[in-house]
């Protein structure tokens, strides 16, 4: 049992999260994919905490989680606001910044 396994798992999760961000059109699912990517990162933190016997990494995870919670709160509020004007949360419909 080496840390490599955890790293590999984390990378796979991260990649899946990234694919989710890239291919899904539903803004809420994109958010969920983002959370997945956070999760992958957290896993690495925790694995290294065990590996180096350092509690600090676990605390980083704690902070990441709080920030993620805040981000989700604001992000979902944004979703609601956008949905009110556009009646859709399809990100492909949101191209007001087109050059």
């Amino acid at each position: 049992m080496t840390i490599t396994y955890y790293l590999a798992l984390s990378v796979i999760l991260f990649a899946l999260g990234a694919v989710g961000v890239l291919v899904r059109r539903n803004a809420i699912v994109i958010f969920m994919s983002l959370e997945l990517m956070f999760n992958a990162a957290n896993l690495v933190f925790v694995a290294y905490a065990a590996y180096y016997q350092l509690i600090n990494s676990q605390l980083f995870v704690f902070f990441v989680m709080t920030v993620a919670a805040a981000e989700v709160a604001v992000g979902l509020a944004l979703m609601v606001a956008i949905f009110r004007t556009k009646h859709s949360i399809d990100v492909d419909q949101m191209s007001a910044l087109k050059g």
Binding site: V91, M94, A96, K98, G99
Partner: protein
Amino acid sequence: MSDTQLAWVVWAVLLPLGGIVVNLVVGRRLGEKGIGAVASLAAGGSFVLSGLLALALLQHPEGGIYRLATWFNLGSLTVDWSFRVDTLSVTMMLVVSGVGTLIHIYSIGYMHADVRHNGDPQRFRRFFIYLNLFVAAMLLLVSANNFLVLFVGWEGVGLCSYLLIGFWFEKGEGGLGNARAAKKAFIVNRVGDFGLLIAIFLMIGAFGTLDFDGVFAQAAQAAPALLVAITLFMLLGVTGKSAQLPLFVWLPDAMAGPTPVSALIHAATMVTAGVYLVARSQALFLPVPQAQAAVTWVGGLTALFAATIALGQYDIKKVLAYSTISQLGFMVAAVGMGAAVAGIFHLVTHAFFKALLFLAAGSVILGLEHGHEHAGEGHDPFDPQDMRQMGGLRKRMPLTFAVYLVGALALAGVAPLAGFFSKDEILVAASERFPVVFGLLLAAAFLTAFYMGRQLILVFFGEPRSKAAHHAGESRPLVTMPLVVLAVFSALGGALNLPGLHSLEHWLEHSLVGVKEGHFVWAVALGSLAVALLGLGLAWLVYGRRAPTEQDALARPLGPLYRAFERKWWVDEFYRLVLLRPLGWLAQVLAGPVDLGLINSLGDGLGQGSQLSANWLRKLQNGLVRSYALVVMVGVVAMFAYLLWVR
């Protein structure tokens, strides 16, 4: 000479400028008489000062230099506002201010009538301002002590010539004729000035100074090739200002100016500036015979060429204009062959009799205009300068006729009038060094006598050929008085340098280099007199015995040759075809296809290029957040790959 005396030369130049200032400031309140008086007094004052200088020179013939101020001083080159008082410059100053003053006085009367005839009395003041400016510039030209100050006068007189030719700028052919003539004069003169400028540049490079003394002192040691270049470029300047081949074309058109202008600028003084320049620069010409030959040939050819054209003209002033060109040819030839004294002598006498002829012609024109109005045909188109409309004026304008006769005979070279002696000296010099040019000049002298005879007969003899001529009357004393003075000088001017006495020669040898003792050759003198009389006689035979017809009496016998005289050898047409048209076309091409097309597209292409690339780039900014995320991801992958590869 003391500095105080030398300073007079500056005052002589400044006085006419003072006249300008007075007329500019208070001229409006002075009235015509006042304006004319101020201007004439200014010019007259210059004449008095020149006379005083001449008297001073009698005691100190070596003259002197008066340095007023530094004009500019750059690197090794210093150019001063400095003036040269010597016998040559003072002679020229006397001629310029003397003839100038007479013409100022004459103009008071002439312009009084002219501005009314042309319907703008306000312009009276402007005329005298220009005239004073001219006198100042011409005096500066002849009294300059270096080539650049000379050049100031040189272009200054050209400017005045421009302004005065275009004095009636709304008149002439198509309303623009006079303005065009003025522009032509200035531009053709600029071509000549180009030559003089290049000569000046060469002198700066070769001698490091533009002062006459400095340049002439080094001329003897200079490389002949350099001197040839300098003198030939100078010759270009001379052909421009003194209306020689090939740049003479502006002078006939310059007759668009009021007649006093033709007399002062385009006959007596300005056009002789080229002659003065060559005489002044003898030291540069003497070491290089090739350049001398070039000048002489230009003069000789011009003398004959212009004389032929004079045969075919009907305009009283045009005849005199071509005669001026021809006589200038005599002078240029003279100074070219080293007979500078003869050239200056002819310059002086020519100033007298040609000014006289022009002013008398002006008197004739005034008489005809007067007669035209008197005849009650005030509004009909009428050319008061057309000799075909004249005839029989001998009885109606007796005084004018008398002085005109004196002038014409002097010009024709009939002894003992002034022209005989001066022309004779040139012919003698030519016969010794340039036999072919001697032939040209002799032929020109014959034609001179002939066309002057023709003019006298057409204008004064026979019966009046128009109502205007019928009603013509003698001009006012203010106009005729200067004529009489000039007639006296024209008659007696030969006394300046009588054979055996050579007073002018001894006077000038203080300032001219290479003066050779002139001598009198009886054969040449008698020959030229015979030629003159022959010309006059032949003119009588051709024109005097029967009433002139619409077609000139020579037209039939000479055929196409006469047509060439009449059409001025098509020189203007030639220039238009070979130079003006292609240059105008070139300008159009440059302004159109080249500038707006080619060069402009450089800038517009820059703009369009950035617009195109922006159009292409903005497609990347598609507004889809997932595309941006994809790009971020690709970047992450690429960076990761780079890190893998590097480590």
